[in-house]
């Protein structure tokens, strides 16, 4: 299957898109590698969907250029780019059966009827819809409609598949299932996938790289581990999960927080803030003998099943959060309990 497909490389150079006085995209430059699974992540209004629309050709960039495999496609309309696209809400043809939906792009290309029938059958099997080919989309569940949309977008072997929040209408369990499916399809087709979502866990779970957008600007593009563990800036750090940010001072050649000296690998004394993910912090009732530790007072406890989430305040008034496995918590913790928080030297980074 993968052998008859080609995957493209896309290069965006300083793409800007304005709508009147509003700048939806501000000089976005990035490269999507051949066969990559790139996720565009950001809050609503961050420009991620606009960027996907510029990639697809449904929106023209106001300035900048777009290159596919070294060819300038900036002025090429969507219909001439030959990309596959899965729309939010699937955009299936409601009056056609599943088989006719999937066959549509092949018929547009005037493929021979036997070829169309064979390809449709292959795609139906690939997305696991055997036995549903004669049904209308309205007779299918959300997850099944999603599969039809994927099959229709992939049936003609496009070099790039663009996906606009494809899972936003699915419930949580189905999402997990479809994510697996998506990974498998990416593996099997070898096509370049560009996927838009506002769900950070989805982005981290699926992608080879994540591009994070805010206010029309590309904030960071890197592998999931890197954007999470080494965010480029405060927006990225705060957007991806919970984070504790500590104001520090480097006076006297040594980092300190509220007068407490800290050891942090790779953080210079010019840093004004350091950040630590809550899952890397440990909770103690007494001051640990060695390592980084700061005092705090427990302000609230939220039981969340396997984990318990805690809110804390330091004597200097910094708010922190902490997540611990419920089973590992010391007995008798109540709001107001004075505690100590520790973390390994390698887990803090400057922001």
């Amino acid at each position: 299957m993968a052998s008859d497909r080609k995957a493209s490389e896309i290069e965006a150079k300083s793409i800007t898109k304005t709508f009147g006085a509003f700048t939806a995209l501000d000089r976005v430059s990035l490269t999507v590698g051949r066969g990559e699974f790139l996720t565009l992540l950001g809050p609503s209004g961050s420009g991620k969907t606009t960027f996907l629309m510029v990639l697809s050709g449904f929106e023209a960039a106001s300035s900048g250029s777009l290159w596919v495999d070294g060819q300038d496609v900036t002025r090429l309309p969507a219909e001439a780019r030959g990309f596959g696209m899965v729309f939010q809400g699937y955009a299936l043809f409601p009056h056609m059966t599943v088989a006719d939906n999937i066959a549509f792009p092949l018929r547009v290309q005037k493929r021979a009827a036997a070829d169309v029938a064979r390809r449709v059958e292959e795609m139906v099997a690939m997305v696991g819809l055997e036995g549903h080919a004669h049904k209308r989309p309205s007779a299918l569940s959300g997850g099944q409609q999603q599969r039809v949309a994927l099959a229709r977008a992939l049936v003609y072997g496009p070099p790039v598949l663009l996906l606009d929040e494809p899972f936003s209408a699915l419930d949580k369990n189905l999402r997990g299932q479809m994510q697996e499916e998506m990974k498998r399809l990416h593996r099997e087709t070898g096509t370049t996938f560009v996927f838009v979502t506002h769900d950070q866990s989805e982005a981290l779970a699926l992608s080879t790289r994540v591009a994070i957008f805010d206010k029309g600007r590309l904030q960071q593009i890197a592998a999931p581990e890197e954007v999470y563990e080494r965010p480029a800036n405060r927006f990225v750090a705060e957007f991806l999960g919970d984070i504790n940010i500590l104001p520090v001072s480097g006076d006297g050649g040594r980092l300190s927080f509220e007068g407490q000296p800290l050891a942090c690998d790779g953080v210079g004394t010019t840093a004004s803030h350091i950040a630590v993910r809550p899952e890397y912090m440990g909770l103690h009732l007494k001051q640990p003998a060695a390592g980084n530790a700061i005092a705090a007072r427990l302000t609230d406890l939220t039981y969340q099943g396997a984990e318990t989430r805690m809110g804390l305040t330091t004597p200097g008034g910094t708010l922190l959060i902490l997540r611990q496995p419920t089973g590992a918590l010391p007995q008798g913790l109540v709001p107001g309990t004075p505690v100590w928080l520790s973390w390994p030297e390698t887990r803090a980074f400057a922001l």
């Binding site: 219909e79 001439a80 955009a91 792009p105």
Partner: protein, 270 residues
């Protein structure tokens, strides 16, 4: 339940007094004048003259429905999906005539299309024609006037259908490389089918009862059912037959309305 009844009551009473009672009176005439029995219905359904009027009515209504809905489809497409300038133009062209009385419009068409009307005068002074074209006092004139009147009635329900169309489905078709013609015929038209059927039924039902436009633009030669009723009651006092034709027309309209409501319900359930 009682609240609903109380709120609907006055309207029901008005409809009962103003429409139902007089209509029952008409039904009574149809079976009592000039003598009791179903003779007038027999006459209405066998008299060649009356039958020819029925056939003409059906024919004109069918043509008017097809032409109005097709024209309204294009007009609405521009109205809902066109550029701002196109939208404004269409709005002016649909809404302004919509508020002008049917009588004024019929006379307007007469002034434009009659033998000594604007169109014929121009064409003759330009030397295109030596004899005027007969554009009114025939079915053509009636159809032109009715289509003009009925386009907005088809355009309004169609506009609702177009506004409910999922833009992304059309984008999806475009993204797959489909030509504009293919998108129109294979995606847009099938997706708006229910709206087209609804608009067609509405226009047809409306057209069945047309009186003023055919009377003026048909000039007494292209008599339609409603005008026949008028003639039988006011000119050749034959109230029984006029009443029977009325009742037949009413039954047709009622049946079509029932069909329309069933369709609407099926559409809503889907």
């Amino acid at each position: 339940m009682t609240r609903t009844a109380a709120l609907l009551g006055p309207l029901m009473l008005l409809l009962g007094l103003a429409y139902l009672l007089p209509f029952l009176g008409v039904v009574r005439w149809s079976v009592t004048l000039p003598e009791p029995g179903l003779g007038q219905y027999h006459a209405a359904l066998t008299d060649p003259l009356v039958l020819s009027v029925f056939w003409r009515t059906l024919r004109i209504c069918a043509v008017v429905t097809v032409v109005s809905v097709a024209a309204a489809y294009v007009v609405t497409l521009l109205w809902v999906r066109g550029s701002p300038v196109q939208r404004l133009l269409v709005e002016l062209c649909i809404l302004i005539p919509f508020w002008i009385s049917v009588l004024t419009r019929a006379f307007g068409w007469l002034a434009l299309l009659s033998n000594k009307g604007l169109l014929n005068s121009w064409l003759m002074s330009l030397g295109v024609l030596s004899q005027p074209l007969t554009l009114v006092r025939n079915e053509f004139g009636v159809i032109v006037g009715m289509v003009h009147f009925l386009i907005p009635f088809a355009a309004f329900p169609l506009a609702t259908t177009f506004r409910g169309l999922d833009e992304r489905v059309l984008m999806a078709a475009r993204g797959m490389g489909a030509s504009r013609a293919r998108i129109f015929w294979q995606v847009m038209v099938p997706m708006t089918r229910a709206g087209v059927l609804g608009a067609a039924l509405l226009v047809f039902v409306f057209a069945l009862g047309f009186f003023v436009t055919p009377a003026i633009l048909g000039g007494g030669r292209s008599v339609m059912a409603a005008e026949l009723v008028y003639l039988r009651i006011f000119q050749s006092p034959d109230w029984g037959l006029g009443a029977a034709v009325s009742v037949i027309l009413m039954v047709c309209v009622g049946a079509l309305l029932a069909l329309m409501m069933r369709q609407g319900r099926a559409g809503g359930a889907r």
